[in-house]
């Protein structure tokens, strides 16, 4: 598995896409820093970009990479290598290279500019962790989708629909249910809804970090209390990582039954 991981990692890191991804974050982060001239404000803008783009890019890369390396996978399958190692190796190679491009892309400008205080550093780390988890999760989901569908159009379509659901439709349903059940206490409910969806979870975590919490009023206080306790952090980390571990585990399990 290690060797396959290495191959796929170097294959990916040398490719145009990960360099493009790296440059994109490098340019965005440095231009935000340059234009706002204030690392905490730049972070707030960067957060919006990370929350929207990381899942989307993850979804697209996962599908694309799987379909691109299908021939390679088929070749490997002829060798005496465990199926699990091949698929997980491919996935982790892809995931590490993308995450590294992302982290390098947003860290380098901040290193040159300076973090400007411990608070900003914590906020920055939250964004890095959130972005990495989101990337890994959506890569795994789309990888799985592509594996299950040999029809490329169907695979792409399904992956994008999943992204669309998590990023947009979910929040719509969330908002609707908040209106329908207006008369009930909804704090625990909205907390649960937020924790379940990785995009919402990351968005809320970063938002609470970035001192917008005063705007959130009573709901914000409930959230702050939850995420302020170690129990809350453990639960939210657990759910976030579940979105990586779940699909990865499904990949390793489903690949055995995969027919070519």
């Amino acid at each position: 598995m290690k060797r396959i991981l290495k191959y796929s990692f170097f294959d990916m890191i040398r490719s145009r896409w990960s360099i493009f991804y790296f440059l994109f974050f490098l340019i965005t982060a440095s231009s935000l820093l340059y234009m706002s001239n204030d690392s905490s404000r730049a972070l707030a803008s960067l957060m919006n970009i990370v929350i929207i783009l990381c899942p989307l890019i993850g979804t697209l890369f996962g599908v694309m990479y799987y379909y691109n390396s299908r021939d390679f996978i088929e070749l490997l399958l002829a060798q005496p290598i465990k199926r699990r190692d091949i698929f997980l190796g491919e996935y982790f190679g892809l995931a590490f290279s993308i995450v590294i491009s992302f982290i390098a892309g947003i860290t380098i400008p901040f290193i040159f500019y300076g973090f400007g205080g411990a608070d900003t550093l914590v906020n920055f780390l939250t964004i890095v962790v959130a972005g990495s988890i989101l990337t890994m999760a959506f890569l795994a989901i789309s990888f799985l989708v592509a594996m299950k569908n040999s029809n490329k159009i169907k695979g792409f379509g399904l992956a994008i629909i999943i992204w669309l659901f998590m990023a947009i439709i979910y929040d719509g349903l969330f908002l609707m249910s908040l209106f329908i059940f207006e008369d009930y206490p909804l704090e625990t409910f909205s907390l649960a809804m937020t924790v379940i969806n990785p995009i919402d979870l990351c968005r809320t975590l970063v938002m609470l970090q970035l001192d917008i919490s005063a705007l959130l009023g009573y709901t914000g206080a409930v959230f702050n209390k939850f995420f302020g306790t170690s129990q809350g952090i453990i639960i939210s980390l657990f759910f976030a990582l579940l979105w990586v571990a779940g699909p990865v585990w499904t990949i390793s399990w489903q690949c055995k039954a995969k027919d070519f």
Partner: protein, 410 residues
């Protein structure tokens, strides 16, 4: 006002040409302030030299000037009210007053002025006071250049730095008040001026107006107060060149307007407040040439507000520009600069050609269901706002700026 004071001093000097100067110090003829006051005649000056004086409550019942040299310390020993003034034309200057007693039944103050006109409190330092300067039913007072440092922890066991009740023609100038319950509290105070004060770190309001009319407050700095500034049940208040800064917290306001009529809010700066201006039943208020920067809500104007004008302000970097809970609008928004305006200016007259609607759908949604604010900054919400911007359905139709500025107003 000043001329009047001058005239008054002139007359009082003329009628009391034989006024004496009495010195108080640990090794003078008088070692106690009380004795000195007792043996003084009206319009004498008592000069208190450096030292520590613990004399409990000191009552001043004749017109005197009490002047401290090198800030003599007068200690209330955490039991007493320090000065009680019951005479017109008293001046207290250059004193350092410490440790006023805390009482739950009496408003003990470092300086308590009862039914006395023309009392001047100048250049004093007040530390650890329950109430600082407390005027009751007094007119033509001057509070200038004092520094008041409280140690308020809880609202119920703390007092206000400057507390005025049933007064008129007062001047509050160049004071610094910190860590009290309210920084400056005015109740039934008319025709007064509050200029150049700094009020910060107070538990409740930095400045609190109740039932006060025809007052001006100008060039004050109100920073980091628990709930910001409140102007309630008042008329004809002019607020100019003030800085409302960092009143940040779940129940904080930069400026809270409640039941207030005919006020002018001009040239102020609102920076990083949870809510810049919160208006409830505010009527005929002119809000012009203000700067709103990085507030949560720049303006939260409830449906009970009418005939207000929001003209020529800059709105930059606020999370929400304007929120209202009503689907109707009886206020005028005109010629403001909104940083989120995306329109164009074909005829190059500096004003955008399409109107700007400052109430986003999401800010409207929040007023209906508060917990939905947790979806702030989600992609869905951005889409929702965009759709509403293109074809307004839910947000108040008439709440729009017909002439939004293309560039910030200088």
């Amino acid at each position: 006002m000043k001329n009047l004071l001058f005239l008054f001093t002139l007359i009082s000097v003329a009628t009391n040409l034989h006024s004496q100067t009495i010195e108080v110090c640990p090794d003078c003829q008088y070692t106690s302030i009380k004795e000195a006051i007792k043996s003084s005649s009206p319009h004498d000056a008592i000069i208190i030299k450096n030292g520590v004086y613990r004399e409990g409550n000191i009552t001043i019942d004749k017109p005197l000037s009490i002047i401290g040299k090198d800030y003599p310390v007068i200690d209330g020993e955490s039991k007493y009210e320090i000065f009680t003034i019951k005479s017109d034309s008293v001046t207290l200057r250059g004193l350092k007053l410490l440790n006023v007693g805390v009482s739950y039944t009496k408003d003990l103050a470092a300086i308590n002025i009862i039914n006395s006109d023309y009392v001047n409190i100048k250049d004093n330092i007040l530390e650890n006071s329950f109430f600082g300067v407390y005027y009751q039913k007094s007119s033509y007072g001057l509070i200038e250049g004092n520094v008041m440092q409280g140690n308020a922890v809880k609202e119920i066991s703390s007092g206000n730095a400057i507390h005025l009740w049933h007064c008129d023609n007062m001047q509050i100038i160049d004071n610094q008040v910190r860590n009290h319950r309210d920084g400056i509290y005015l109740e039934f105070v008319d025709s007064s001026r509050i200029v150049n004060n700094v009020s910060e770190g107070n538990l409740r309001y930095g400045l609190h107006f109740m039932f006060s009319n025809w007052d001006d407050y100008i060039s004050n700095t109100l920073r980091d107060n628990g709930a910001g500034v409140a102007v309630m049940f008042s008329r004809f208040i002019r607020m100019e060149d003030n800085l409302f800064e960092k009143n940040w917290g779940t129940t904080s306001y930069g400026l809270l307007l409640k039941e207030i009529y005919d006020a002018e809010i001009i040239n102020n700066e609102f920076y990083k407040n949870t809510i810049g201006i919160y208006g409830e039943s505010a009527t005929r208020i002119k809000i012009s040439n203000n700067e709103f920067h990085q507030n949560g809500w720049a303006l939260k104007i409830l449906g009970s507000c009418m005939d207000n004008e929001v003209v020529s302000n800059n709105f930059i970097g606020n999370t929400f520009d304007v929120t209202t809970n009503s689907s109707r609008n009886y206020n005028i928004y005109n010629g403001n600069y909104w940083d989120e305006y995306t329109g164009y200016d074909l005829d190059k007259d500096g004003y955008g050609d399409v109107p700007y609607r400052p109430v986003s759908l999401f800010s409207h949604v929040i007023t209906k269901s508060e917990s939905s604010i947790i979806l702030l900054r989600s992609l869905f919400v951005d889409l929702l706002n965009y759709a509403e911007k293109v074809t307004p359905v839910f947000t108040p139709e008439s709440l729009k700026d017909e002439l939004p500025k293309m560039k910030p107003i200088q």
